[in-house]
């Protein structure tokens, strides 16, 4: 859901009283035409508020919490669960960590590599899977009115609108900012995740848990890759005959 232009102007007044729209755009790196268009339509995007907050050294989560649709973000940040944290580690990082474990004979002398930043290629899907008790998707579509197939389509594309990300977190009973991290709108620090929390969660997995998890991820990745290869082969065949 977008934010109302009126509320946005009021917020902008409060953080940068003397700045013109042009100044704000220059500092935050937003295109002037983009912002002008959003203001004319009366719908300001979440990423606009996040960019401006960062430019003025304000925590974007706190800034978003000031807007009515995102008021659930206010108050002390709930810490992320372990499965949420692990879901935000890329498959490649999981594999590297696994190879550095004693369970792998190659591990001798290998040091655990540092984790890549959030989000990763399947972070949204992995996050929802990590917090899903089996009914979350139904509850989200019931509260937001978004059709389940549209919701699934967004997950498959590793996308989720900020509104749906927050609604999903609420429906699953986890910290409301987690989805914004998974979708890459805010960083883990901005969401109040403790430094090194993902690494700690990863380290707390036993060799068995980590191996099983990496296996699941690989299986899903394998399916996706195979489907892409099939689509590609089908397209090649069409072009071979009709191109």
């Amino acid at each position: 859901m977008t934010l109302s232009a009126k509320a946005f102007q009021r917020w902008l007044q409060s953080i940068a009283p003397d700045a013109s729209t042009a100044d704000v755009c220059r500092v935050s790196g937003i295109k002037r035409t983009t912002l002008a268009q959003q203001l004319v339509r009366g719908k300001v995007s979440v990423s606009t508020v996040v960019s401006i907050s960062r430019a003025y050294n304000i925590n974007p989560v706190a800034a978003l919490a000031g807007f009515e649709p995102y008021s659930v973000l206010s108050g002390p940040q709930r810490p992320p669960t372990r499965s949420e944290l692990v879901s935000q580690i890329s498959t490649a990082d999981l594999m590297r960590a696994l190879l550095a474990r004693p369970a792998m004979e190659l591990a001798r002398g290998a040091s655990a590599p540092t984790l890549g930043p959030t989000p990763h290629a399947t972070s949204v899907k992995n996050w929802v899977d990590a917090i899903d008790d089996g009914e979350v998707r139904h509850r989200v579509s019931a509260t937001t009115g978004v059709a389940p197939q549209n919701y699934s389509a967004q997950l498959t594309a590793n996308r989720l609108s900020p509104e749906l990300a927050v609604a999903t977190a609420l429906a699953a009973g986890v910290g409301p900012a987690g989805g914004l991290v998974a979708t890459g709108i805010i960083t883990e620090e901005e969401a109040g995740w403790p430094p090194g929390a993902r690494q700690a969660a990863l380290d707390s997995l036993t060799d068995g848990e980590l191996t099983a998890l990496a296996g699941e991820r690989l299986q899903v990745l394998g399916k996706v890759l195979r489907r892409q290869e099939q689509d590609q082969a089908q397209t090649e065949k069409i072009w071979e005959n009709l191109g």
Partner: protein, 245 residues
């Protein structure tokens, strides 16, 4: 209106044929050039002016009309093979090239030729309108002759439509999907020509519109699939150079 549609279709088809010459010379899918060129010939034969000129050269007994029918059969047969192979429509491929398909083609052809020669076809006339007007017997014969000419294309089109509709909904490049959708629309239009006998004469224009819509859909659909390949090839080439530097 009809004239504009006819000449536009001819221009589009001729343009695509010419555009295919370079890739044909490179040896890529030569039969597609044949399909486009034959389609251009078919459209030329279906327009009054060129028809009269060509038919006069062939002796003025409307052999050009018979030629037109067989050019259309050839186009639809080879297009059917290409499309069913490309879209992995095995059952459609069997229906076209298998025993049933060959039997349908043979029967329709024999009936059509027999009907043609049982008429007194002297006097060039586009669409055999003058022949049909001769008497009640000729009117009926021209109707049957026309129906036979529409039957085979409709048979092939109906065989192809399901696979094309599926392809249009598949996870394929968007240009390929639009191309498949247009081919499907063309197939439906060709199948609709079976209903021509029940269209009242006052609405005769509809027949022209359906015919030329079908051809335009086929030509543009095939051209889009080809364009998708060209676009894809360029994208891949650009990616390669950017990773090399």
């Amino acid at each position: 209106m009809i004239e504009t549609l006819q000449w536009t279709t001819l221009a589009v088809c001729a343009l695509v044929s010419v555009a295919r010459i370079p890739s044909t010379l490179r040896g890529e899918n030569r039969s597609l050039f044949g399909i486009f060129a034959s389609m251009t010939l078919a459209i030329l034969l279906s327009i009054k002016g060129p028809y009269l000129v060509i038919d006069q050269a062939l002796g003025g007994i409307n052999l050009a009309n018979l030629l037109l029918r067989f050019v259309i059969f050839g186009v639809i047969f080879f297009m059917g093979i290409r499309i069913s192979r490309g879209f992995s429509a095995d059952s459609a491929h069997r229906h076209i090239t298998g025993r049933t398909g060959m039997l349908v083609l043979l029967v329709v052809s024999v009936v059509m030729v027999a009907l043609f020669f049982s008429m007194d076809t002297a006097g060039s006339s586009a669409g055999l309108q003058a022949i049909s007007a001769k008497d009640a017997r000729h009117f009926a014969l021209v109707e049957y002759y026309g129906a036979a000419g529409r039957a085979y294309p409709a048979y092939v089109a109906l065989a192809l439509v399901p696979a094309l509709v599926r392809a249009a909904q598949d996870r394929l490049p968007v240009l390929v999907r639009i191309g498949a959708a247009l081919l499907a629309l063309g197939g439906v239009a060709v199948a609709l020509t079976l209903l021509f006998p029940v269209i009242p004469p006052e609405l005769g224009q509809i027949e022209f519109i359906i015919n030329y819509t079908a051809i335009l859909c086929f030509v543009i659909g095939l051209a889009l699939i080809w364009a998708a390949r060209v676009v894809n090839g360029r994208g891949a080439a650009r990616q390669k150079t950017s990773t090399e530097t």
